[in-house]
């Protein structure tokens, strides 16, 4: 089993470079790696948790259990869908190579349990994501990717200082060493992970980055890549009970912040990006069941980003006068229903599971966030639609990718069938009904435009120092 795990870790990097040498097979190679990784994740569920210690005492430690299985599965499915989507789009071998390396480094970040392996994985993610965002080579793409790389690199410098403080206290870089380390180590490490994972105010780099990237890249970033910063936080919360309330609190704050921006947003892609922020909050709000939520969110969010890419416009005001093709609208509605928590889709099971594991003080905040989700997805559900004779330009691989993701949503729903009890079904339906009511009465007419001040580059860096102080204070308290 350990040999297979090592092959699985190394395969994407190896195949990535090979496919650059044999550009004719780039798509097949990268799709093959994505499928292999998905298969490996499914196989993990049949195995007992595996702990690996490579290269002697201070070496790399890996942990593969059902929790990381959920994240790896998400990553594999999203990557496969993105590659299918790009199948006939004329992307070069370079694009596929970066996609597959990104997939591999995200997998590595999910598997490792020591701070230095995690650091390396996160930095490789930054580089691969930078190259993917900058792929169109326009000025805007270069600026957005540069801003992303800069922000995450500065955060990782803080993280490195935290990592060495952990080493100083416990003579190892393992996550478990966090228990003996001083509060400043915890604050510094969490700052790095929060920025990388797009959580709370330090995650405000995310909306611009995810909305200005190309469609497949935003699907990949929102579906899988941000979770590389989230899983380590979840692991720390499970491993060190002292930080559990801190993580849960940040989860509630993030869920509310993201939803608060999203309900007023008039641009589809930006709205989806803000929802990524809010859904990450849901994952952190109940760390012990975060895996299933992450899987659901990864599938639904990448589907939504791919669909948003084929809509006739990005502006919701314009979309209300421009009917969309009915099949696309149906896919959009299924995905929106799932993320709002409607029964029959796995968003329902995930929401029920998360809500059940909340602590009493979190309940109000998270229900408000769920209501906000229903409100903002009403904007997409009630768009006009009609059957169009003349098909617009739709990527040939679009339907294959959507079928994979939405099929995954239905299948994952079966995995947690215990959720179907009477009161469990009533509650999300009531939330959705209330959300739609609020949408028609209030939010459809509003033209509030929230300021984007905090998303400016200088403020992103400045907020890091504030966040550091906040974290330090929270850890001490």
């Amino acid at each position: 089993m350990s040999t297979l795990t090592i092959i699985w870790i190394a395969l994407p990097f190896f195949v990535g470079f090979i496919s650059y040498l044999l550009p004719r097979f780039d798509r097949i190679f990268s799709l093959g790696v994505a499928i292999a990784s998905t298969g490996y994740a499914l196989w993990l569920y049949t195995q007992p948790p595996l702990k690996l210690q490579l290269l002697d005492n201070f070496g790399v430690t890996l942990l593969l259990d059902p929790l990381s299985g959920f994240f790896i599965l998400t990553n594999g499915l999203v990557t496969a869908a993105v590659i299918l989507y790009c199948w006939n789009s004329g992307k070069t071998a370079f694009f596929y190579m970066q996609t597959i390396i990104l997939n591999g480094s995200v997998n590595a970040a999910f598997a490792c349990t020591d701070f230095i392996s995690l650091y390396v994985a996160l930095e490789v993610i930054s580089i691969a994501a930078f190259l993917l965002i900058a792929y169109p080579r326009t000025d805007r793409a270069i600026w957005v990717s540069l801003r992303y790389l800069f922000t995450s690199n500065v955060a990782m410098l803080f993280y490195l200082v935290g990592a060495v403080l952990v080493y100083k206290a416990s003579h190892s870089f393992a996550f478990a060493g966090l228990r003996e380390s001083p509060p400043e180590a915890l604050a510094l490490i969490f700052l790095g992970l929060l920025v990388k994972g797009g959580i709370f105010v330090s995650g405000l780099w995310l909306p611009l980055t995810h909305s200005e990237s190309e469609t497949p890249v935003s699907a990949m970033l929102s579906g899988a890549v941000v979770k590389a910063g989230v899983l380590p936080l979840v692991r720390c919360a499970l491993l060190v009970p002292e930080v559990d309330p801190l993580i849960r609190g940040l989860g509630v704050g993030t869920a509310l912040l993201g939803v608060g921006y999203a309900v007023f947003e008039k641009d589809t892609k930006r709205m989806l990006a803000f929802h990524t922020v809010s859904q990450l909050g849901f994952i952190l709000a109940a760390p012990e069941v975060g895996g299933f939520y992450a899987l659901t969110h990864g599938l639904v969010k990448s589907a939504l980003f791919l669909i948003a890419g084929v809509l006739p416009s990005r502006n919701l005001k314009e979309l209300q006068h421009q009917p969309i093709h009915t099949p696309i609208w149906i896919a959009l509605v299924i995905a929106s229903f799932s993320i709002s928590g409607f029964p029959l889709l796995s968003g329902f099971g995930a929401k029920v599971l998360t809500m059940k594991s909340l602590l009493p003080w979190q309940v109000i905040g998270m229900n408000t966030a769920a209501l906000g989700t229903a409100i903002s997805f009403a904007k997409l559900i009630f768009l006009p639609h009609q059957k169009q004779e003349k098909q617009g330009k739709i990527q040939p691989g679009f339907w294959a990718a959507i079928a994979l993701l939405i099929g995954g949503l239905f299948l994952a729903n079966i995995a947690y069938y215990e959720a179907y009890s009477f009161e469990n079904i009533i509650k999300p339906l009531a939330t959705i009904a209330l959300g739609w009511l609020a949408y028609f009465l209030i939010f459809r007419q509003t033209t509030v435009k929230l300021p984007r001040l905090l998303e400016q580059f200088d403020h992103l860096i400045g907020v890091m120092s504030l966040m550091l102080i906040l974290l330090f204070w929270m850890v001490l308290a």
Binding site: S126, L149, N153, V154, L157, Q456
Partner: protein, 111 residues
């Protein structure tokens, strides 16, 4: 004392990133900051001794801890490659934004 100097370096770099207007200056400030972080690793490694840990018969006193040094070597390489990538990006941006002021670039390139 040394520790204070190291932290001062890190802070200088961080404030440089915030207060410098020019993109290249920001990248250099980031480099200053990462120099501080690297120095901190070296400092932690030399807590118990200064000698390079090489296996030999002669006893030369206390050895430095090799683990943080090995780790920071990786980080140096990563930091270096990220800086190279950033500078390439800056070169591309410099064609249309010759002053390279971040506020200008941001204004031109955000929707």
């Amino acid at each position: 004392m040394l520790e204070a100097c190291v932290f001062a370096t890190i802070l200088c770099g961080f404030f440089g990133i915030i207060f410098k207007k020019n993109l290249v200056m920001k990248i250099i400030s980031m480099d200053v900051m990462s120099t501080g972080v690297i120095a901190y690793y070296v400092l932690i490694a030399s807590r118990d001794g200064l000698f390079t840990p090489i296996l030999s018969n002669a006893n030369r006193g206390n050895y430095a801890d090799p683990v943080p040094q090995a780790v920071i070597l990786t980080a140096i390489v990563i930091g270096f490659s990220i800086q190279a990538l950033m500078l390439v990006g800056v070169m591309k941006l410099a064609r249309d934004n010759p002053t390279l002021e971040t506020s200008e670039i941001e204004q031109n390139n955000t929707p």
